[in-house]
């Protein structure tokens, strides 16, 4: 199952996977280390991580944690079958 997004409030020096794992008692398998900890708002020190749904449920409501957030499928704005295209 695909991991879900959580938004975390962190000091910039805390914005790494090791710190997040330690602070929130996350197993290595529960956080996407390749994705890492990504800044989404510099002024408010907001970061996003990808975690397992079970971990997100555990962390939900903690101070400095919001989400989990939807990561729906997106599609090309223009999807066409080639057969539907006519010669111009």
């Amino acid at each position: 199952m695909r991991k879900v997004m959580l938004k975390l409030e962190l000091e910039p020096e805390q914005a790494d996977v090791a710190h997040v794992r330690r602070t929130h008692s996350l197993a290595a398998s529960e956080i996407d280390a390749e994705f890492g900890v990504r800044e989404v708002n510099a002024e408010r020190h907001l970061y996003v991580v990808l975690v397992e749904r079970s971990a997100a449920a555990r962390l939900k409501g903690r101070k400095g944690v919001s989400g989990p957030y939807s990561s729906p499928r997106i599609t090309a704005a223009t999807k066409l079958d080639r057969s539907s295209l006519l010669q111009g």
Binding site: K3, E39, V40, P72, R73, T75, A76, K79, G88
Partner: protein, 437 residues
């Protein structure tokens, strides 16, 4: 625009089918103050002919109704066949401040699958490419990052482009195994071709996120977050190099999202991480453009919003330019999604040219708001060749594009936005304001 009596009096219903031209109304209403001009479509207009004074009541969409209720200013479309009669009647109503109407729409435009209208050369005329080039606005020194299903450089150059990939602005999810510019010819290549119409000298960032074939041409929103944060990093390493990010994707099925009102919802939630990130990117000086989507009410479409505000999420973000589609004659494409948007109501911002013979990358016709969005992104890149975000911040450039668009009314309309992006008018305004000649 009329300020009306609030008491409802039963009367006959006039269906609003077409819209009036402004100049006709202006001549009829000379001397009447046009106090407020935010056109919003109303479901119907009721008129009681039997009452002296002609009380009117308009029924708006819910969002509009709640906003206008406090000011008691009610915008309206008037049925054209009743225009003269209605205008005279409205003038007699106590409390009327003025009457405003939008210009006519010229029928249903093209649908997906309709034959092409013109060529990329015609799109270049719409975008004012000659005027832009005269001012040295060619996109040179800029990067247009195409967030899509990947680019094929060989195809682009076989079509007459001299495209160059900017590997330092090319990012994708881990499952992407192809090098930038070496993807199969498809949707992203079509988008890149459109960006090159106005910005032939821009380099291209290749950011493939729509890598899944189940369903066709799909991806995940967290991959967009990943790519956008990587693009922020690229911008931070090269702060003086303009970066324009064009997005011809959308979330078209609300059942895939968390419900509206849920903390984790995407479509309507300004606090979603991607929406935080878009605000941050604007602050970083990055220009973001999103396709309005092809959920237009005038054509069959694959969207699952019905008639309920399909421009959602990032595509409706106030810090990005939302681009609908018109043919090269300026007629809105029937498939182009209609506002209001879910995050910002006044969406789309503008329309861009589409539905022309161009790239040959995805059939014979470069279609959809998928084409229109990068076409306008090319216009943005062209401007950025001489006007960086330190001089002209993204929000101000968006406003200039809105202000100079070829419009058919005096203000924003949910189907046409502020009008069709007009590079010649934009160039003329910026040349004067920034001494570009």
């Amino acid at each position: 625009m009329v300020e009306i009596a609030t008491e409802r009096i039963p009367g006959r219903t006039l269906e609003s089918r077409e819209r009036l031209t402004l100049h006709v109304l202006s001549s009829q209403l000379r001397g009447i103050e046009l106090e407020y001009a935010r056109p919003v479509p109303f479901r119907r207009l009721e008129l009681d002919e039997g009452e002296p004074g002609h009380h009117l009541e308009l029924y708006a969409g819910e969002r509009v109704a709640s906003r206008t209720a406090t000011s008691r200013l009610y915008p309206a479309w008037l049925p054209i066949e009743r225009s003269t009669e209605l205008v005279h009647q409205v003038r007699e109503v106590a409390g009327v401040r003025g009457v405003w109407a939008a210009p006519p729409i010229s029928g249903v435009g093209v649908c997906l699958g309709s034959p092409a209208v013109g060529t990329a050369d015609d799109a270049a005329r719409v975008l004012g490419v000659d005027e832009l080039r005269r001012l040295g606005l060619t996109g040179e020194g800029t990067t247009v990052a195409v967030v899509d299903d990947g680019l094929n450089l060989r195809h682009l150059n076989a079509q007459g482009r001299h495209a160059v990939i900017d590997t330092r602005a090319s990012f994708g999810p881990p499952e992407n195994k192809r090098k930038p510019g070496e993807h199969p010819v498809g949707h992203g290549t079509m988008c890149a071709y459109a960006a090159g119409i106005a910005a032939a000298d821009a380099t291209l960032g290749d950011c493939p996120v729509l890598l899944s074939n189940e369903p066709d041409l799909s991806g995940w929103l967290d991959d967009v977050v990943r790519v956008f944060t990587d693009l922020r990093g690229s911008k931070a390493r090269r702060p003086s190099r303009p970066l324009i990010v064009t997005n011809s994707w959308a979330m078209i099925d609300p059942s895939l999202d968390l419900p509206v009102g849920d903390e984790g919802n995407y479509s309507d939630n300004p606090n979603h991480p991607l929406h935080d990130l878009i605000r941050q990117m604007e602050a970083d000086g990055i220009d973001l453009l999103f396709a309005a989507g092809n959920c237009g009410r005038d054509c069959a479409n694959p969207c699952h919003f019905g008639s309920d505000r399909p421009i959602n999420g990032a595509n409706s973000h106030p810090a990005a330019l939302c681009v609908g589609a018109a043919d090269v004659h300026g007629t809105r494409a029937g498939y182009s999604s209609v506002g209001p948007g879910r995050l910002a109501a006044q969406k789309p911002d503008v329309l861009g040219p589409a539905h022309f013979v161009g790239s040959g990358a995805k059939g014979a016709v470069d279609v959809g708001t998928s084409t229109a969005c990068p076409a306008v992104a090319g216009l943005v890149a062209a401007v950025r060749a001489r006007l960086g975000s330190d001089v002209l911040p993204p929000a101000e450039l968006r406003e200039a594009i809105q202000r100079t668009a070829t419009r058919t009314g005096v203000d924003h309309a949910p189907d046409m936005g502020w009008g069709v992006a007009n590079g010649a008018a934009l160039a003329a305004e910026l040349a004067g304001a920034y001494s570009l000649v």
